[in-house]
Symmetry: C2
Subunit: 237 residues, 2 copies
């Protein structure tokens, strides 16, 4: 356990708290069956996620004005549906598929671990998702957040410092009283560089067979845990 | 029950969900006893609340830049401590007293009613309080919000339209899919004027012996309830 405890713990969400890949593959496969549209849904999901960072970079570089992740997802989806040659999707189907990112399920330890942490700490997602996405996801997956720190509150995506420092500002605490918790070394390194506490656990199945990194903590983080329940245990709750 | 149902219900908080007057009087009286400082705490609380609207109006009129309610409360408190001739309060005491607004208790129907409503709707406070105040209050009082719509997210106080419309924008719904719920006619009338659904219930003891208005719904609101549990019942949850 670190010498001091945080006041607020914020969580990376996609991959760290929820299993986006399995959730989306199951959701889209079932929906495709329902509407009678066949496609290589697992490959679409992997390609969709691969478009995630490049789409946010267009905002970071100023090629696009501030754009919510839902809209970036939709732009990528439209391109991929064409690239994959998927036929027969109506506008309502595309809207439904795009909102698949609102219907992700937690990893098995997520709800139990977060519920324990909520008993002592203010907890929230600090995600590149927008507030509506994260709020709807929390309802769907039963994530017991106290507050939802969507990227649209800051009009910045991680790892921009405005996101990490924005949490401290909204909660009226020092950056060092906020702990960033994630399964991604890069996110934690950025948070640490602006003064946040950090906690890591691995999600070696996040990318299914395509995982390439983040198997272990690569920097000196305050806590290295097995999962979110273990994080709670290490923080004494 | 109205013909259509909202997607999101946002609640006025001070007076409508939490009993600020009884909570603060009990909190400050107990704290005064602990530190051995005597004062007419009920009168201080009433005067503090009386300073609430004038302090926000200074921001609305541009006399002050955007200022969180915590800071407005502190300015009013400092003036009132002097006006009341209260002696012996340290800076730490003043900080603690000012955070009394983070330690308010719900009216008896609040937690039960909100818990029922949360089962179907996204619920959150839409308050002139800042995010930290409202998040800390929710932890203290057990209010099961999905998302906290503090005024600092919009840098506007109610009844400015940016607050009501800001909820719809963050949640990606039409204004007509958001219901404003409050014990104050003025708040609801402002929400209604920009297209929100509305629900009223009275809190005839909000100001203790000094209540002067809001005994009944004075406009054509979508729902008029007895309290938050009755609101849940009328919405069928």
């Amino acid at each position: 356990m670190p010498g001091k405890q945080p006041a607020v713990i914020v969580f990376d969400t996609f991959g760290s708290v929820v299993d986006w890949r399995s959730s989306l593959i199951a959701d889209l496969t079932a929906y495709g069956d329902t509407i009678g549209v066949s496609a290589d849904w697992p490959a679409l999901v992997d390609a969709w996620r691969a478009a995630y960072h490049p789409s946010m970079d267009r905002v970071r570089k100023g090629e696009l004005p501030w754009t919510k992740l839902d809209a970036l997802h939709r732009g990528s989806l439209d391109r991929l549906v064409a690239d994959f040659g998927i036929k027969g999707l109506s506008e309502a189907d595309l809207v439904h598929i795009n909102l698949g990112w609102h219907r992700l399920r937690g990893w098995p330890d997520a709800v139990a671990g977060l519920t324990r942490l909520k008993s002592r700490f203010v907890i929230g997602p600090l995600s590149n998702g927008n507030v509506s996405l994260l709020t709807n996801m929390a309802k769907f997956a039963g994530l017991p957040w106290d507050m939802v720190f969507g990227s649209d509150l800051f009009q910045h995506f991680k790892p921009d410092p405005e996101t990490y420092l924005g949490v401290a500002k909204l909660m009226d605490v020092a950056p060092g009283q906020v702990m960033m918790a994630a399964a991604h070394n890069g996110d934690l390194l950025a948070a640490k560089s602006v003064g946040l506490m950090t906690a890591f656990w691995p999600r070696p199945l996040e990318y299914g067979p395509h995982q390439k990194r983040d198997y272990t903590a690569e920097h000196d983080f305050d806590i290295v845990a097995k999962d979110i329940e273990d994080l709670a245990a290490q923080l004494g709750v």
